[in-house]
C-alpha cells in the first residue's frame, strides 16, 4: 500500500529525519496562508504517482498570491489519472547537495537492502551502476549506526563531520521506518543538505498490505477503482484490463496464464480475476456480477478444483443466471477437479456445456468474442 508523500515524511520525521517546513492543505486559501508563514514555497500535488514534476504536479510560488493561484489550478485537477485532493506546501530549500536513499527487500539475498547514491534528485535508473551502493543487512540482526557509517564512507564524499552525522541519522531513520512500519519500500529522492542540516525533500513509502493488521496507525490509502475495491471486499483479486473477454479463474498463476493464452489465440482479456481467496457460491456469484457489469463480449471461467469446489462455482453461475433472469453474454466454462461431475451436471441444467481442456476452452472464448456484436462491449 503506497502512502502519500506527506505521510511518508511524517513517519520519517518521527524517527529523526525531518522534511522541509511545510503544511498539507486542501483549499487554496490554506495554501496562501501556508505561503505567508513559510515564504517562498514548493507546492506538491499529493497523488500516488511518481514523475509528478513532468506532469505539472510540482510547482513553485514566491508569494501567497502565487501559491493561491497554483493551488486553485492543482486542487481538483487530474494528474496521471489521479484526482488531486491535497497539496503539500513546503519551504523552498536552498539545496547544497542531493542524494538518493532507499531501503527495500532484495529477494535474491532474502534480506533488506539499503540503496544509496550521491547522484540524487534524478531518476536513479539513469545513474551509472558504479555510482549506486547496495548494502544488505541481516534480517534478524537489523540496522546499526556502524552500517550507516560504512555507507557514508563508501559514498566517497568529502563531507565534514556534521554532514556525516546528519547522513548517518538519515540512513538510520529511513531504515527504522522500513523496519518498524512494515514497509517494503522507503525511498527518499532527493535527500538534501541545506546548510548544516539534512532533509527528506521527497518520500515514497510503500507499506506491506499483509502487515496492515499491526500497522493500524498508518491510515489506509486507496489506490483502486470502484470495481477493484468491490472485489477486495469480497477477498478476491481483480485488475481491470482493456480487452473484451472477461476472465475468472482460481489461482494467480493460472489466471495470468489464461490472459496469455487468450492473447496467444488472438483475443484480449478484459480483466484479471482470481477467486481463490473466496470460493463459496455466494462470493463467486458476486464476482460473476462484477464481470457482467463490465459488459464484456464473452465470459471465460476456468476452475481447477482443489479446495475450490466445481459444484460451488456451477451453483454460483446458476444463481446469477436466475437472478439476472438471463445472462446475455456467452459464457465459456472449463471445470476440472473436486466435484467436477456435479458441477458439470448443474451447468448442463443451465444449458451450458463445460469444457475439460483449457486450451480448447480458451480458443472457443476467443472465437466467440471475435463474432460477438460490437455494441455489447463497453
Amino acid at each position: 500500500m503506497r502512502i502519500f508523500e506527506y505521510m511518508g515524511k511524517e513517519l520519517l520525521n518521527c524517527f529523526g529525519l525531518p522534511a522541509p517546513k511545510g503544511k498539507v492543505v486542501s483549499c487554496a486559501d490554506e495554501a496562501a496562508l501556508a505561503a505567508t508563514e513559510i515564504g517562498p514555497v514548493v507546492i506538491k500535488a499529493q497523488i500516488l504517482s511518481g514523475k509528478r514534476g513532468k506532469s505539472g504536479g510540482i510547482r513553485f510560488a514566491n508569494t501567497p498570491a502565487e501559491a493561491k493561484s497554483i493551488a486553485l489550478e492543482l486542487l481538483g485537477a487530474n494528474i496521471q489519472g489521479y484526482l488531486v485532493e491535497k497539496l503539500l506546501v513546503e519551504e523552498k530549500l536552498a539545496v547544497d547537495q542531493e542524494f538518493y536513499l532507499a531501503v527495500t527487500i532484495d529477494e535474491g539475498t532474502k534480506s533488506p537492502v539499503i540503496i544509496a547514491s550521491n547522484q540524487g534528485g534524478i531518476d536513479i535508473e539513469e545513474v551509472p551502476e558504479n555510482q549506486i551502493l547496495r548494502i544488505h543487512t541481516d534480517a534478524e540482526l537489523g540496522m546499526f549506526p556502524f552500517i550507516a557509517r560504512n555507507i557514508v564512507r563508501r559514498l566517497g564524499l568529502d563531507l565534514n563531520n556534521q554532514h556525516r552525522k546528519e547522513l548517518v541519522k538519515a540512513i538510520l531513520a529511513t531504515y527504522q521506518v522500513f523496519q518498524e512500519k512494515d514497509a517494503i519500500l522507503v525511498e527518499i529522492n532527493p535527500l538534501v543538505f541545506s546548510g548544516e542540516k539534512i532533509f527528506a525533500a521527497d518520500a515514497k513509502v510503500i507499506i506491506d498490505p499483509d502487515a496492515r493488521f499491526r500497522q493500524k496507525d498508518i491510515p489506509y490509502v486507496e489506490d483502486q477503482t470502484e470495481t477493484e475495491k468491490l472485489a477486495q471486499n469480497l477477498g478476491i483479486s481483480y485488475v481491470e484490463l482493456k480487452g473484451d473477454i472477461a476472465v475468472m479463474a482460481n489461482g494467480a498463476g493460472i489466471t495470468m496464464s489464461i490472459l496469455d493464452m487468450l492473447l496467444y489465440y488472438g483475443g484480449t482479456p478484459a480483466n484479471f480475476l482470481d477467486i481463490s481467496g473466496g470460493t463459496d457460491t455466494e462470493t463467486t456469484a458476486r464476482a460473476l456480477e462484477i464481470l457482467l457489469a463490465k459488459k464484456p463480449k464473452v465470459i471465460f471461467i476456468n476452475i481447477f478444483g482443489g479446495i475450490t469446489r466445481c459444484d460451488d462455482v456451477a451453483r454460483a453461475y446458476a444463481k446469477v443466471k436466475k437472478e439476472c433472469s438471463d445472462i446475455q453474454v456467452p459464457v465459456v466454462i472449463r471445470l476440472v477437479g473436486t466435484n467436477q461431475d456435479e458441477g458439470k451436471r448443474i451447468l448442463q441444467e443451465c444449458g451450458v456445456e463445460a469444457y475439460t481442456d483449457l486450451e480448447e476452452a480458451a480458443a472457443k472464448a476467443v472465437e466467440l468474442a471475435a463474432y460477438a456484436p460490437a455494441g455489447n462491449f463497453s
Partner: protein, 301 residues
Amino acid sequence: MHQQVILVKGKVLMAIIVNQNTKVIVQGITGKQGSFHTRQMLTYGTKVVAGVTPGKGGITLEGVPVYDTVQEVLENHQVDATVIFVQSAIAKDAVLEALEAGIGIVVVITEHIPVHDALKFISYAQRKRAILIGPNTFGIISSGKCKIGIPPNQFFIPGPVGLVSRSGTLTYEISEKLVTAGFGQSTAVGIGGDCVKGLTFTEILKLFEADPETNAVVLIGEIGGNAEEEASVYIKEMTKPVVAYIAGKSAPPEKQMGHAGAIIRRGRGTYQSKVKALSEAGALVAEIPSEVPAKISKLLV
C-alpha cells in the same frame, strides 16, 4: 543441499526432500484448510503423525492426535517435517516454534504473511540448517510417496519429470497435462509465490540434477523478481533437460516497487528477460501450458 537416501528392505529409494517414510505434522490442523488438507494428505498416503493447534490439544482429527505445542508432539512422535496452515498473523510464531524444536523440513502454505516476518524466519531457518519451503506455496509432493501441502491428489503419479514452480493452480494444470500425456512426476515443489522464499529454484534444480528418479525438469515461473534469471545460471551446468513456462507475458507492468525495485533487478523480471535467460541457458521455453508435455515428450521418448 539435502538428498535423502533411504534403505527399505535393502533397496535404495530416493526422492528429493521427502519420501514414503517422511513423518509429517500439521500446524493449524483444526482450521478449515488444515483439516481439509490433512484428510487429503492422509488419502494420498502421507504419514501425518500429529497435528498442533494451541488450545485444542487432546482431540483427534481424521485419526490424527492433536497437541497444543510442537514440543509436546516431539515428546510423543518421531517427526521429519511440518506443514504450516495457521493464519498469517501468527505464522511467524508457528514457523519459529517448529524450527526451534528442531524440525528439519518446514512447509509454509499460509499466504499473506508479512514479508518482514518471512525475512526473519527464513534467516532463522538458515541458521538452524533447516529446509524451509514457501511461504505461500502449494507444498511438495513426491508422487506416490508423500504429499506435504495442498495439490489435488489425482494429478500426481510416479514418473520421470521433476517439477518446480512459483504457482499452485498453474502447476496442477501442467501436471494434469503431463499425466494425460503419460508423464508422471518424481517430485513437484512449489517454492512459493511471495517475494522472499526459503528454497529457491536453483536449490531445487540441484536436487533434481542429483536425483536418479528424475530425467527431466519442468520449471514454471512468472514475471517479476529474479528467480528465473538466477536459476538460468545453474541450468547452464545441468546435464538433465529443462522445459520452462513463464506466465504473465500479457500482464501490465507492475506499478508498485518502482525505482528501487528496478535497481535491485537491473532489468530483470520481465517476461522477455526470463525467456532470454532460460533459452540461453539451454532450457526449452513453452509459450502456452499445453506445449510443456509436447516438449517433454520429445526429450524423453
